[in-house]
Amino acid sequence: MSRRRLLHVASGIVLILLALAAAQGLDRLRPSIAHQQGSFVRSAPTGVAVDLRLASLTVTSVRGSQTVLTPDSRYTAVTDGVFVAVRVKVVPYTEPVAFSMLEARDEAGNRFLPTTLAAQPIATGVTFQPGYGTEGEIVFEVPAESAPSLRLWAQIPAIARADTVADLPLGIRPADVAAWQASSETLVPHDLEVSP
């Protein structure tokens, strides 16, 4: 093989190796599957609507107590922690929507589903209609130490991948929790209300 031919083949091999190395480097820069298909987490303080693609969601107020009226309205349930009632307003844009997840999370990563000890008119399963707001309360039973870091998580689609998820801080202060624990008032969840 002539020297020129040898050089030609060698440079070809070097170019292929360089291309493979560059591809390997680019592949490492590629975002992970979890990152590519992760949810778009959106946040907003109490009173400010967050856009969930198909609807807007607003936490309008938060209240609490150690005692809650049970769903049959005949008894009360008492907790060692606190019952937190989160009032939300949902306004779908163009079509009916239902939430596939409504839960509270604390800073330790604990996840709380709506309690079965209280009426839950707005928990998952309710279909919200477009063009107007529907307001109601979601009641969670949480340990007192979890309440100050509590956040409401909500999502509309059944598959959260690559879609919007709301992460709404509830703004509960330790003083609020202390007041709720000291209060003897029974928490009676509000019925659903519609508003323009």
């Binding site: 009916p96 209609q129 519609v194 508003s195």
Partner: protein, 175 residues
């Protein structure tokens, strides 16, 4: 350079075509997402006329405002400007369950889709019917449907969707 271009001319010409052909292996996916899946072909019927869809015929009997009352006979209160709509749709189906998997909506004058049985009617006797006669006695029947429209919206059409009939859906025009 000129020699290199000449030697590789066919490859260079094919390169842009290959780039354009990259999505082809998933062409069925694009077709399903953008063409086959969305409801985009409306089968419309003016008031008083029927359409044939998914194994049955259907027509709009009426779509009128109404004032619902609760179990105690008291009027259901909603903020000013809201309107309850009572729609009646007639069906003549080939078999009892021909349309059983349908979804029914009220389309308003702004193009929004409203589902039946709004939360304002939760504690009332009003429950909307479906596209099948639940008593299973008749192949010709009428379905009562209850909706709530916000201020500024009027009923435009009753919309009926059947998954297996995509991309076709029915619009029974209210006016």
């Amino acid at each position: 350079m000129r020699a290199w271009l000449k030697r590789n001319r066919w490859g260079l010409l094919a390169l842009p075509l290959l780039v354009l052909a990259l999505p082809l292996p998933q062409i069925d996916r694009y077709y399903n997402v953008f063409v086959a899946a969305p409801y985009r072909v409306a089968v419309e019927a003016p008031p008083g006329e029927q359409v044939s869809y998914g194994g049955g015929r259907m027509w709009l009997v009426s779509a009128q405002p109404f004032r619902p009352v609760d179990h105690f006979g008291d009027p259901v209160s909603v903020p000013a400007g809201f309107t309850f709509i009572h729609a009646v749709v007639g069906f003549k189906v080939d078999t009892g369950d021909a349309l059983s998997a349908c979804s029914i909506f009220l389309e308003d004058s702004l193009g929004r889709r409203h589902g039946p049985d709004p939360v304002a009617l939760t504690r009332t006797p009003y429950r909307s019917d479906t596209c099948m006669d639940l008593e299973g006695r008749s192949l010709t029947f009428q379905a009562d449907l209850y909706f709530l429209l916000p201020p500024g919206a009027d009923p435009a059409a009753i919309r009926i969707e059947l998954d297996r009939e995509r991309p076709r859906f029915v619009r029974l025009l209210a006016r």
